[in-house]
Symmetry: C2
Subunit: 360 residues, 2 copies
Amino acid sequence: MDRGAKEDGRGGTRIVPVILSGGAGTRLWPLSRPGRPKQLLPLAEARTMLQLTLARLACLPEAAPPIIVAAESDAAEIGRQAAEAGVAPAALILEPVARNTAPAIALAALSAEPDDLLLVMPSDHVIARPEALADAVRAAAPLAAEGWLVTFGVPATAPETGYGYIRRGASLAPGVEAAAAFVEKPAIEVATALVASGDHAWNSGIFLFRAATILDALREFAPQVRDGAAAALAGGSRDGEAIRPDTAVFGRSPSISIDYAVMERAQHIAVAAADMGWSDVGSFEALYRIVARDGAGNSCEGDVLALGARDCLIRGEGVTVAAIDVEGLVIVATADAVLVARRESSQRVSEAARLLKERD
Amino acid sequence: MDRGAKEDGRGGTRIVPVILSGGAGTRLWPLSRPGRPKQLLPLAEARTMLQLTLARLACLPEAAPPIIVAAESDAAEIGRQAAEAGVAPAALILEPVARNTAPAIALAALSAEPDDLLLVMPSDHVIARPEALADAVRAAAPLAAEGWLVTFGVPATAPETGYGYIRRGASLAPGVEAAAAFVEKPAIEVATALVASGDHAWNSGIFLFRAATILDALREFAPQVRDGAAAALAGGSRDGEAIRPDTAVFGRSPSISIDYAVMERAQHIAVAAADMGWSDVGSFEALYRIVARDGAGNSCEGDVLALGARDCLIRGEGVTVAAIDVEGLVIVATADAVLVARRESSQRVSEAARLLKERD
C-alpha cells in the first residue's frame, strides 16, 4: 500500500481516528463528576484516559491526525492534554450539549472526507495491547472501504452483565465475521450462556467505517441525527481546528447511541476480533482489575495507610485515608465526597451519585 | 444536712466537682485531633462531651461550682462551651502542657479548701443515668470525709480489655466497699474471668476524696507531682477564674495517672457502686453502642447516603459520604482525613493515627 498517497487528505482509504470524549459518567463517582469526566482523569496510570487513547494511535502510524469530539466545557482541558500528549488534532468538535454517540459521530463524519475510514474510539477505555487493535483495524480496513460497518469485538471471557455482546456469523476475512446479532447488557443467566456459546464477543464500542457509509446509514435509520448534525455544522462556526456546532440546532438532535441508532439495525455489520486487553473501566471493580496491586491485594493512591486492609481499591485525592482491617472495598476520598462500597457493588455507584444529585 | 452552710466555701464537706478536660485522645481520629480533643466535640448528641459533663452536675444540686482543668490551648473554647451550658466554673486551671491526671488533680486540690470533697470527673465520658452517680456520691461522701479515697465502680457486664477492673472487698457502707485489688486492661481471658467472678467492677475514672487526703497521698506516693504542682501554682498567675501554672515548672512534673500514682498503691481505697449507664466512649465501637441507630443498624450524621449499608457508624463532617452494601464499618470523613475501619477493629484507630503522625 502507498501510505503517502492516502495521507494527503484527498479520497482514498485514509484512516481518521475519531476520539469520542464527550461522556460525563457517574460510574466512577466521586472521582468523575460533571466538569471532571472520567476520560480527563489519570485513572489507570499517570496519564489521563484521553492521553492514553491518543498515545495508542502511535500503533497505527499510517493513520491521519485525529478528530476529537468533546464537550465545549472541556475544550481548554482537552487542548492542554492533547498538547501534552504531543498530538495536534485535525479537528476539535465541541458539542454545546451531550447527545450521545450517534450525533457525535455524525458531526465527525460530516467534518471528514466521504471516503475517509473513521476509526471511532471512546476516550475512556484501557487497551493493554493496542497493537492487536491496530492489526484488527488493518484486517478490517478493506471491508470498511467496501461499505461494511465494522465493530471490534473482544473475546468474551466472563459473564459480564454491563457489556454488549455480538454474535459472530459468517467469515468475511481472516479475523473478521459478519455480525449475526447484538445483545445489550444481558441478565447474568443470558450472559453466562453467551460466553458458553463461544461465538459471542464483547462490543468494544470501537468502530471502523467510511464516513459516507455511516452517514448513509444514519440517513436511513436516524435521519434526524444526520440532518440535525448537518444543520448544526452549517449554522456553527470554525476557529482553527475548533468546530462549534450551533447550540440551539444541535440541542434539538435526538440523544441516541450509534449502537442503537445504526449498528443493531443496519445490514453489512462486521465484527473484527481484537484480543487487545480491553477494559471499559466502567466501574471501580473494572478499574481494580487493571491496576497494579500490592502483596495484600490493595491498590492505593494518594496519602493512604492500609492497616490490615486487603483486596481494596483506595484513592485519597488530597485527603489522608486510613483503612483498618477491611476487605474487598472501594474507598475513594476527595475534598468534598467519599465513597465506601463493596467492590462487588461497584455497579451501584452511579445509583448513589444519582440519589445524591437528586437530594441536592 | 444544712446545704447552705456547706456552700459558703469555708470548710465543711462541700462537694467541688473537678472536671478533667486536658485529654487529647487519638482513639477517635480523625474526629478528635490535637487542638480538637474528644471532650470538646458533640459526639453522642448535639452538646459536646464537656457540656454533657457540666449538665450532669444538675443531678447534684448541693455541689459547689466546678473547677475545670484543661489545656491552655483550649481555654477559649472551654470558656465558650461552659458559658453555653450555663455553668460558671469556680476556677479554670489551664495546663501549659499535658501531664496526665495526677498533676491535674494536684493542681485542683491545691486550688480548693483542704476539707472540700473533690468529685473528679473526666469530661469525655457518657453517663446515661447521672442520678445513679449522684446517689453513689451521696452514699460515699461520709467515707470520703473520713479520709477514704473513693472510686466509682460500674458493674462489669462484658469482658472489656480496654478498661481497668477493681475487686470489691469488705463492705464499708451500703453500696460502698473497700477496693481489694486493681487490674488494668486485662487480656481477654483474664477479663472474662473477672466478669465471671462477679466481684469486679469497671473503674470509671470518677473519684471522690478530700483535697487534703489526696494531697497527703500524693506527698507519700508521688511527692514530685504534689510539689511540682504547688511550685507551678506559686510561680503562676491568676486572672479572674483563670489559673495559669508556671509553664517551665509544671513542664518538669512527672506525667502520671492518678490511678497509677495513688489509687493502685494507697490504703483506704473504697469503691462505690454506680450503675449509671457509663461509657468512656473510648473507641468508635463504644460510640456506636451508645448512639441512636436506624432500622438498618446504622448511625449516620452529616450528609450521608447509606445504600444497602448495615450496622455502620458513619460521620460526614462537611463531606458527603456514600456507603454501598458495606456492613459493620466505621466510616468517618472530615475535610482532610478519612477513616474506614471494621467496627471490631476500633482499638487500632489510635495505632493508625500514630503511624500517620510519624509519617508526616
